[in-house]
Symmetry: C2
Subunit: 410 residues, 2 copies
């Protein structure tokens, strides 16, 4: 693992073809198998194998695998390789960039935890809106039995992990440094909590510190481990968009949470939506709907609230619309205005009056005041208006002049 | 116009087939042409023509076209019918629901104004975010030579009209009442301003007050007049979504502005995005990009800011990443860490030092403090770091621990 940097696809192909022990032997002897050299020469962009071998040799000479193993196991972590029972086989889709091995630290089983998992990624410099959303998603997914995979960073990552922990669910933090290195250092408590309820994993050997390149290469693991990735907040230039690209190239689901267009921290999400690369995600249920198995994890559809008026039949609605709010009108003029026959108007007026929608005045029929604002329909009979006008907390009050058409006219 | 309610498609077909004078004559005589009756009977849902004719007759008997014309022209409006030079021919796409005529009040030419136009629709009970966005879109579209079409209501509509007026651009308000009726009454000043710079139009005769049905039917005109519609804010149950449906069925472009997922006033927009019915719109330029002619109205693409580091070549970047931030390291260990040869490392270190990225200390090479945060690249040479660290107002400051990887790791 020390011989090459993480994500070295040439090393990946070498190990895939000959196994790790043979690969080490070849590097030690500074001679690559001739078939491998011939094969690599046929790549679209043939790599400079001599330089690469030289680098591997120098790194291997400086490496101390026994010390790494001792440091890793000493810190409480375990090393897993492809074929182990805990190895998440979905990583095999990474092809030659599949990690050679993974350090895993924590009480949960990595493979089992990732069977039903969603990756939550986003800006480190998240806004309060982004952190709030990430935490809500962490809780919502955790409570529905989904594991949250993220990068353990500040901002969106940390909030998502904390949300999942709060829901009592396992969560997986994929680090760009050794699992015994605490980066960012303020997250020591968070990582300790994750190790108790989930796992902290890394493909980097113990003691390795993060570099820019390791963050970018780490992101492919976050995308590959889960069924889908949701970007909560991301600036136009953001590592979260890099993870999103990995998710798309692995044919995983991709979601993006919208935000105010005035926030530069949502610009990356809006770019994904605008280019139709990501699905618009407004709740954990939306995400489960996206990645879940059909018929098993379906989210309830957002539906328009029903209002009592919906239950009136068409002619009655027309008559109700034709009754004036002020003054009054006779049945004949209402029938003409509504475009129905006089008989139909008279019958509808009777029903509407009995239900309290309208009232008879000396000047004719007019609307009753309390029925001009519409609220959610109670599950009762059609012609039963709500007895008292109580404010609906889910709706902003419409301007008073418009009460009559609340919720209809845009 | 008084004989039927607005949007009566049977009347539309009658007038289209026989002309308005013949239609009036037929209704007066209470006998529809036999071919028309036979044709209507073949409709998927054959209408009850007897009742309909009866209603038309009663309405026609109560109508006073001369008084309507006098009232309309007296208020300063003009009546246009299909075929007139000012008639916007894009309304013909409405088929039988095309309005029989339009009352137009204002100094602008309706057809000319709508040639390059965008409809901005949204909630009356808009949040400050929605009103702000609508106004910004009104200004942005107006300044780019686009006419804003909207419904003259409170909230999004009003803000969009005001934005267009502020940009000195024409704007079209499509009312659901007579053009001489001021609804909402608080918008008297706004409508007066629109009449000076644009037009207020309606298919309703003078004096007619708005009803729920007229609002919904009016919406098809807002969608049909422009090249595309953008929904700024909309609850799940909203007239703006009705306009959006009309825009889609007319094959017009549809955009939706995202907002916080915590705002119920953006839920309708998010639904359109989630169902991939609308394109995500974050600026007036996005909307122009959507509705504009290719090569003529292209919006600039949102691009990630360039940082000085982008201009370094790959081996130099690797070496820079391998240089420690604290302490120091010799060229040999940096070469091993970066995975490059010693010669390449020495050459890169020299260049990086000359450019001020790194410095030599008694303990070896290390990063220079002021180059660890990256800002927008000046348009100069690659290896020239910005001289003084000045804060970038477009980026939130990353947490201090993370300065090294600002903008990369998510």
């Amino acid at each position: 693992m020390r011989a090459c940097d993480v994500g070295d696809v040439i090393m990946g192909r070498l190990v895939a073809a000959y196994g790790a022990p043979q690969a080490v032997k070849a590097i030690r002897s500074r001679t690559l198998p001739p078939e491998f050299v011939a094969q690599e020469a046929q790549q679209e962009r043939p790599p400079d194998l001599t330089t690469r071998l030289h680098t591997w040799y120098a790194r291997l000479a400086a490496a101390n695998p026994a010390a790494d193993l001792a440091a890793g196991t000493g810190s409480g972590a375990r090393l897993i390789i492809p074929g182990d029972p805990e190895w998440p086989t979905q990583l095999d889709q990474l092809g030659p960039s599949r990690p050679l091995a993974l350090w895993v630290h924590g009480d949960a089983d990595l493979r089992f935890s990732c069977l039903k998992s969603v990756s939550i990624v986003g800006a480190r410099a998240a806004t309060p809106y982004g952190s709030h959303t990430a935490a809500e998603f962490g809780v919502g997914l955790g409570e529905s039995g989904w594991t949250v995979v993220s990068g353990g960073a500040f901002g969106v990552d940390g909030a998502a992990h904390r949300g999942a922990l709060a829901a009592g669910a396992p969560t997986v933090a994929v680090l760009a440094c050794g699992v015994d290195v605490c980066y960012p250092s303020n997250h020591e408590t968070l990582f300790a909590a994750i190790k108790e309820q989930g796992v902290v994993i890394s493909e980097c050997p113990p003691g390795v510190h993060p570099t820019r390149a390791r963050f970018l290469i780490r992101n492919r693991l976050i995308a590959a481990l889960s069924r889908g990735t949701v970007v909560v907040e991301a600036a136009i230039r953001s590592g979260a968009l890099n993870t999103a690209t990995h998710a798309l190239s692995l044919n995983r689901h991709l979601g993006a949470v919208p935000g105010p267009i005035t926030s530069s921290m949502s610009a990356g999400c809006h770019k994904l939506l605008r280019e139709r690369k990501a699905v618009c995600i407004t709740s954990p249920e939306d995400m489960i709907d996206l990645v879940g198995v059909m018929g098993e994890d379906l989210a309830p559809h957002v539906r328009a609230p029903a209002v009592p008026r919906d239950r009136l039949n068409e002619p009655t609605k027309k008559v109700l619309d034709a009754v004036p709010a002020r003054g009054g009108a006779g049945p004949a003029s209402i029938a003409v205005a509504a475009g129905v026959t006089l008989d139909a108007a008279l019958s509808a007026l009777g029903g509407l009056a009995a239900a309290g929608y309208i009232e008879r005045t000396p000047r004719g029929w007019r609307l009753r005041k309390q029925t001009t604002s519409y609220r959610k329909a109670p599950d009762t009979l059609a012609l039963q208006p709500p007895p008292t006008p109580e404010p609906d907390p889910t709706e902003l009050p419409p301007p008073p002049d418009d009460l009559l058409y609340a919720g209809y006219e845009g």
